[in-house]
Amino acid sequence: MNGVLGDFFGTFLRNRGAAVGLAVLALVGVAAATAGLLFPYSPWDMRGAPFMPPGEMEFLLGSDSLGRDVAAGIAYGARVSLLIGAVSTVVAVLLGITLGAVAGYAGGVVDDAIMRFTEFFQTVPSFMLAVVLVAIFSPSISSIVAAIAIVSWPPVARVIRAEFLSLRSREFVHAAEVLGRSRTAIVFRVILPNALSPIIVLASLMVASAILLESGLSFLGLGDPNLISWGFMIGAGRSVIRIAWWMSVFPGIAIFLTVLALNLVGEGLSDALNPRLARRR
């Protein structure tokens, strides 16, 4: 497997965008991990005078309406974003793969039923559904993760189903059937490994949109009240934007950089995985 993996990383890293994206993500990860070291206090602590512009009185990025350190908020907020982004994506992907695989392999009525179910979730405006879910079940990190997962799984199911449908009629799958392999072996050991590469790309893009979703929710005040997050900080800075622009600008830049990095990595993955597929021919 070494040759293939080495090939893959080579192509991936040669894509400048992807390499930059990976670097930025690493930075964000480090900030999240070392937040406690860099800012050995709670981001909710009042550390000084309110509305201090960036650069004054040890506030690297300024202070907010209650004298809290914006830079600390961004560092601790990174944890929330990455955590929620990753966990909700994992849940959504698992949900999506299960439903998509069953629909794609079983076909017929089962497929129809699952597709109608998927269509429902794709028709209702996903952000609104997330808002309704979090509002009704009270904002907390678990309700947010659940809500994001619930609105994010349909594209995964669609992609997996499409892959299954196309792979199911591929000759090497027929060959496995003719050789006498069991149905479970065919689904899990023949079809699924070949269906997963588009999911890898999709997953990185989903983490990006999960972070955007979470920031939107906390901007509206639906974030976990115990955790500081970037969207919340922007929301807090909205009404005082005329006198403290830094409260809204910097957390937004943080979101922008993280999401951009994830998108670049996703595109790099897509490019790296496709030439190998193209070389199959």
């Binding site: 293939v4 591929r170 000759e171 090497f172 027929h174 060959a175 496995a176 059937e177 003719v178 050789l179 006498g180 392999r181 069991s182 072996a185 023949v190 490994p193 070949n194 190998r276 070389r279 199959r280 021919r281």
Partner: protein
């Protein structure tokens, strides 16, 4: 003066390709009123040469040197705007895949009219219908108003010809226009091209890989290998007295040996199909009824021990469906499929396992029939392991089989994408033989391969058949292949077996009109490849 004069054409490939040049120092001339066939296998550079004439090469390919003389000018030195004026009006071109060659969102009549309009000619509806008539399409008005997806492959190719010839160009370039068509349709299109060419005195540059087509229509031939022309001359000369070793090898690879008349098979029947029927349902929705499309109707077949039965037909004949019924990939709704004394159709999926060891299949597409994520050794060992053999023993067996199909032992550790089409097909055969089957079903095993590779695989299959005592059901659309490989043959048309019998008899004296039209559609059937004129030395069947 020649109509089209290509001299010393050299086109470079981008760095990192298998060779430095796509075509190297290629020269040929096309005269008015003749058909020049350029023959070669895939990668020989034949498409690139003709692409250069029309200046339709992908940007990655650079013309390094050479000239293309046409109507007093060098096409390679023309400005893009000047070249565009020539395309479609003085030189017409048709391509290989008719199914994707037309804009799906424009009506056929509009697309034909487009070529008239962009060159300033009058694109009236009447003129368009004249053109449709000229390519022998019935009901021109309806065709003109249709969208491409409503037409068959053969019809679309005729539309392409109409578009290419609308402005009566001096030269027609045809890049494998019949390769993707059924054999009967191919014959019609070849006839159409010949008729139009002789009527208008055009020069036709016809690219193909099929020597039968060359025998059918060519006046002159040029053979290409690895980007160079290795032999050229009058068709009769090159076909019957080839000089260059490559040309000889290619012609020798054309399947031609009719199976010697062996004694009629008297072994007990291994496989018996009685009244097998399989239909598909199409359409269906809230407002229209579902239509039943019969893929196989009342198929009756007997296959005896040790023989090779050919199942022959064009696309849509049901031959592949029938093969899939035998291995339970597809469930027929009626009939009996008796393997020795067991009716396979009545078996539930879980009872099939022991029969998997006795009946195996080799598939058509070497690029899609191997799991791209497994190593070759694992692919071959998959079968025995699924039936209880231990991994180490199975891998040893895989090594033995690789040797049997003449691949080196190191192949077991590599992935499918590292092998060529012919090699992958050998791997597929090894995989099928891993379970030591009695009955081998070969579903168009050589259709996707180059002619020279085809011959090797067919020789391999024959060798294995004799050594292992296999019984084979051989599916193919290529009558020449069937003639070489099969002792008995069954001809299918639209789901029905219209005729079956000993190959030599069916081919010599076909009873059913469809069989007759099939045989008449073999391109170059009157040409006997020179090797066949020498009495057989060696293998007697």
């Amino acid at each position: 003066m020649s109509l089209l004069d290509v001299r010393n054409l050299t086109i470079a490939l981008p760095p990192g390709a298998e060779r430095a040049h796509a075509v190297e120092d290629v020269s040929f001339a096309l005269e008015a009123g003749e058909i020049l066939c350029i023959v070669g296998e895939s990668g020989s550079g034949k498409s690139v040469s003709t692409g250069a004439i029309m200046s339709l090469l992908p940007p990655a390919l650079r013309v390094v040197q050479g000239s293309i003389g046409f109507e007093g000018r060098d096409l390679l030195r023309l400005k893009p705007a000047e070249m565009r004026l020539l395309r479609g009006s003085r030189i017409g071109m048709i391509f290989q895949e008719p199914m994707t060659a037309l804009n799906p969102l424009m009506r056929v009549g509009d697309q034909i009219g487009e070529v008239l309009k962009v060159h300033g000619a009058r694109g009236s509806a009447g003129r368009v219908q004249e053109l449709i008539n000229a390519v022998q399409l019935p009901d021109p008005d309806r065709i003109a108003r249709s969208y491409p997806h409503l037409l068959s492959g053969g019809q679309r190719q005729r539309v392409m010809i109409a578009m290419a010839l609308a402005l009566e160009p001096a030269v027609l370039i045809a890049d494998e226009p019949t390769t993707a068509l059924d054999v009967t349709t191919q014959m019609q299109i070849l006839g159409l091209i010949k008729e139009i060419q002789s009527r208008r005195g055009m020069g036709v540059l016809f690219i193909t890989h099929d020597f039968g087509v060359v025998a059918e229509i060519a006046d002159r031939v040029a053979v290409m290998q690895h980007g160079r022309i290795v032999e050229a001359g009058a068709a009769a000369q090159v076909l019957n007295a080839p000089q260059h070793p490559y040309t000889r090898a290619l012609i020798a690879a054309v399947p031609h040996r009719a199976r010697a008349l062996d004694a009629p098979p008297t072994g007990r029947p291994v496989l018996e199909l009685v009244g097998v029927r399989k239909s598909y349902w199409r359409g269906g929705g809230l407002f229209s009824p579902r239509v039943k499309v019969p893929a196989v109707q009342d198929a009756d077949l007997v296959l005896r021990k040790g023989e090779t039965l050919g199942l022959v037909g064009e696309s849509g004949s049901g031959k592949s469906t029938l093969a899939r019924c035998v291995v339970n990939l597809v469930k027929p709704e009626e009939g009996a499929i008796r393997y020795h004394d067991t009716d396979l159709r009545r078996l539930m999926r879980r009872h099939w396992k022991p029969y998997r060891k006795r009946i195996q299949m080799v598939f058509q597409d070497p690029f899609a029939s191997l799991n791209p994520r497994r190593r070759v050794g694992d692919i071959i060992a998959e079968g025995p392991m699924a039936h209880g053999m231990g991994r180490a023993a199975a891998l040893r067996r895989a090594d033995e089989l690789l040797a049997l199909v003449q691949l080196d032992a190191g192949a077991a550790g590599r992935f499918p994408h590292e092998f060529s089409g012919g090699q992958r097909q050998r791997i597929g055969i090894a995989r099928a033989l891993a379970l030591e089957p009695e009955l081998l079903i070969a579903d168009e095993p050589v259709s996707a391969l180059d002619v020279s590779v085809q011959a090797q695989i067919l020789a391999l299959l024959e060798d294995l058949r004799q050594r292992l005592g296999l019984t084979m059901l051989f599916i193919t659309h290529d009558l020449r292949v069937a003639a070489q490989v099969c002792g008995r043959v069954a001809v299918m048309q639209r789901g029905v077996i219209v005729e079956q019998g000993r190959t030599a008899e069916v081919f010599a004296a076909p009873q059913h009109p469809y069989t007759r039209s099939l045989l008449e559609s073999i391109p170059g059937r009157h040409w006997l490849p020179p090797v066949a004129q020498i009495p057989d030395q060696g293998a007697v069947d």
